[in-house]
Symmetry: C2
Subunit: 142 residues, 2 copies
Amino acid sequence: MSKPSPALVDALFRLSFVLQGHLVRLAAAHDLSLVQLRLLGILRDREPGMLELARHLELEKSSSSGLIDRAEARGLVERVPSKEDRRAATVRMTARGRKLARALEDEVSRELGALLAVLSEPERVKLTALVERVVERAKPPA
Amino acid sequence: MSKPSPALVDALFRLSFVLQGHLVRLAAAHDLSLVQLRLLGILRDREPGMLELARHLELEKSSSSGLIDRAEARGLVERVPSKEDRRAATVRMTARGRKLARALEDEVSRELGALLAVLSEPERVKLTALVERVVERAKPPA
DNA sequence: TATTGTTATACTCTATAACTATA
DNA sequence: TATAGTTATAGAGTATAACAATA
């Protein structure tokens, strides 16, 4: 139960603010909020219902309802009525949303690449392994 | 200009979301937003004017004005009129704000400690060095 | 009765633009 | 004129509570 060094705590939080800052600025350049960016990321390989989506985003269902209203109005996602359960609907990315998601992914990777250029390839490999072990431990509480 | 591996990009962003998630939940437990948490962090060792504060938080001056309104109403900070310039005021943490900031700092360090317990001490040292070099490169655009 | 989702309402947070007071 | 800060206004994003439709 030894506490981590202040230097490590500091470095990690600074890193997290730097990364989130990149995401916020990139998203804003496309007139998207960070949550909308996360939404696109989630929908890349899923077609969740409202409740499932709310759980992924850690939002109330009413909040995701509004979020989807706005994203749908912009043509990024669409509601697909369920066949089996007439109360339910799933949320699916449109072609336009998918195109935007891919563009953002490229930009993110490019910016992060510039940041990581300061490390050698073996160092990157080492960093990847260390970070993966930490986030693995933080795995979804679900 | 080689792009970073998808695994590294992924791991770093997952880490940043995990860390920010911790901050958001801890702040919320004290009925604070993430920005208010950052405000307390900034005021630990500064007594900035409104414009300087807005720059630190990457906000418009009108936005920090409202932010300080709400924080002041909760007794966490106070506006101190400047002696030299009668238009200006600085923002200072109150004793109550300082107490809350310290409590949050402890909680953050404790939670992160649990997460980092998965690494050995030499690994933590290595991680600290690598992350510091990356964030150093991201240094303030100012 | 329970579940899926929406709507009504209220508050925080943010930006833009206009404003006040001082420099 | 320029600068420090506030105010007015509008919109996104959030939660709580009440609601409708279906299970």
